[in-house]
């Protein structure tokens, strides 16, 4: 048995702009144990909910995460609407679906860039983000914000997409698709990339389930589980089947995300074709009284919101369980037994969003 040393990873680390700290117990170059600690940027949202009006809280829910901001807002709105028994107009549901999928594309492209940066492929990083920028332009034109969409509200949507904008958006997405194919080709087929990803950080199907992994981390281990199967928003009317891979290694997780990019494009096209005309929001009267668990699929996995109201304009209890929080046990399992040089890559394969996790 070699000499054991503890190497701290984070809270400041070049591969990750967000603060997570992991104590890596290493023996020579091999990690034998990883002890994570989070809590550097706790923001106390659960207390804040008692001070804010339930309509205003959408803005705060959106700001839990800077990447999947829209889906946070959507999860919150869906929860409150369920408590208040509000029937959202069908057009608003389709709009939410389109924006949710756009946010998935931009999140996965962001991840692709960070991942390329993590294994030292700078030009791939730049090109992934260049393509992401085109998606952000579409988001800005349709919602008014580049990262914080601000287009979801309790009772529907704040903005509509005009037919001209829709045509423009679909045309732009064709360009984006062509560019994405070139990038995905590098991720999937380049030997230097495969060398860093194949067989690294394997999580078996049984482990993924027992450790409560969610999203692409779970689907990369062969479990085709996706919250979009719950048929929230317009997913009940769209053709959709979760993507999964069976190997459970970093390459599988990467492949799931790459395939989801094109799946999201397909969902947007289906939604654009089927979108009905009509109202985009209904008037909300009264206050929420009751409780609800709202579950939605974010780019990183399943997010769970627990919302409880007592009939006043302030909610009494609010809790968000974000996908990164659920994926940390799987990450710890992956890290045990890996090479020290693979640690940044493994941390990135769960697509960590620490600000989400801390709330």
């Amino acid at each position: 048995m070699g000499h054991r040393t503890i190497i701290p990873f984070g809270p400041q680390h070049p591969v990750l702009p967000e603060p997570i700290h992991i104590d890596l117990v290493v023996e020579d170059e091999k990690v034998v144990e990883a002890v994570p600690s989070i809590g550097f940027i706790h923001r106390g949202l659960e207390r804040l909910v008692e001070k804010k009006d339930f309509v205003e809280f959408v803005y705060i829910a959106e700001r839990i995460c800077g990447i999947c901001s829209f889906i946070h807002g959507q999860t919150y709105c869906q929860g409150v609407e369920e408590i208040m028994k509000i029937e959202v107009p069908t057009r608003a549901k389709y709009l939410r679906t389109i924006w949710g999928e756009l946010s998935r594309i931009h999140s996965h492209l962001l991840w692709a860039g960070l991942m390329a940066d993590g294994f030292g492929f700078e030009s791939l990083f730049m090109h992934s983000w260049r393509v992401r920028e085109q998606v952000l332009d579409i988001i800005e034109a349709t919602t008014g914000g580049r990262v914080i969409f601000g287009s979801c509200k309790v009772g529907g949507a704040r903005r509509d997409i005009s037919p001209e904008q829709m045509t423009w958006m679909l045309k732009q997405l064709e360009v984006v698709e062509k560019e994405m194919r070139l990038i995905v080709d590098v991720f999937m087929n380049d030997d230097s990339v495969k060398h860093r990803l194949c067989g690294v950080g394997v999580i078996s199907k049984a482990d993924a389930i027992s450790l409560g992994a969610v999203g692409p981390t779970l689907r990369g281990s062969g479990v085709a589980d996706d919250m979009r199967l719950l048929k929230y928003a317009a997913f009940g009317e769209l053709d959709f089947a979760p993507i999964s891979r069976t190997d459970g290694d970093s390459y599988s997780r990467c492949a799931v995300r790459c395939d989801e990019l094109f799946q999201s494009l397909d969902i947007i096209r289906q939604a654009a074709a089927k979108m009905p005309t009509g109202e985009i929001a209904v008037k909300v009267t009264g206050n929420p009284s009751g409780e609800f668990f709202s579950r939605v699929e974010q780019p990183r996995g399943e997010v769970v919101y627990y919302i409880k109201g007592n009939g006043t304009k302030n909610l009494t209890r609010f809790r968000a369980r974000t996908p990164t929080f659920a994926n940390v046990p799987a990450l710890v399992k992956m890290l045990a037994g890996c090479e020290l040089a693979d640690v940044p890559v493994l941390v990135l394969t769960i697509d960590p969003c620490i600000s989400c996790t801390e709330r």
Partner: protein, 109 residues
């Protein structure tokens, strides 16, 4: 074996112009409909204080008695809630994001 799968893309981009702009020498393209700086048409304002009450960040301060409408630009998150609730529709969000400020002063109208 597929080494250097990216060669075509890299070669193509070697002869293209960079996608980044030379900001601030070249101003940012403003996207129509973008939520930027909050603008007020003060002649139409009736000082009802609805925007002040609804603002999620308390960036607005409306004084009904003295007919003063004030905004803290550093607190405003350009969410557009005030624009939605304004009964006289005198508030608008312009596409540009305004100039940077160095002092934490409230702008008065």
């Amino acid at each position: 074996m597929a080494f250097f799968q990216m060669k075509k893309m890299i070669l193509a981009w070697t002869f293209r112009k960079p996608v980044t702009t030379s900001y601030p020498f070249e101003p940012r393209k403003i996207c129509p409909g973008s939520r930027g700086r909050l603008d007020v048409k003060i002649s139409d304002c009736i000082f009802c204080t609805l925007c002040d009450k609804r603002c999620p960040t308390q960036a607005l301060d409306v004084d009904k008695a003295n007919k003063k409408w004030r905004i803290d630009r550093l607190r405003c998150i350009s969410c557009g809630y005030c624009v939605e609730v304004c009964p006289k529709k005198c508030l608008t969000l312009t596409g540009d994001h305004g100039i940077p400020t160095v002092t934490k002063e409230m702008e008065t109208f």
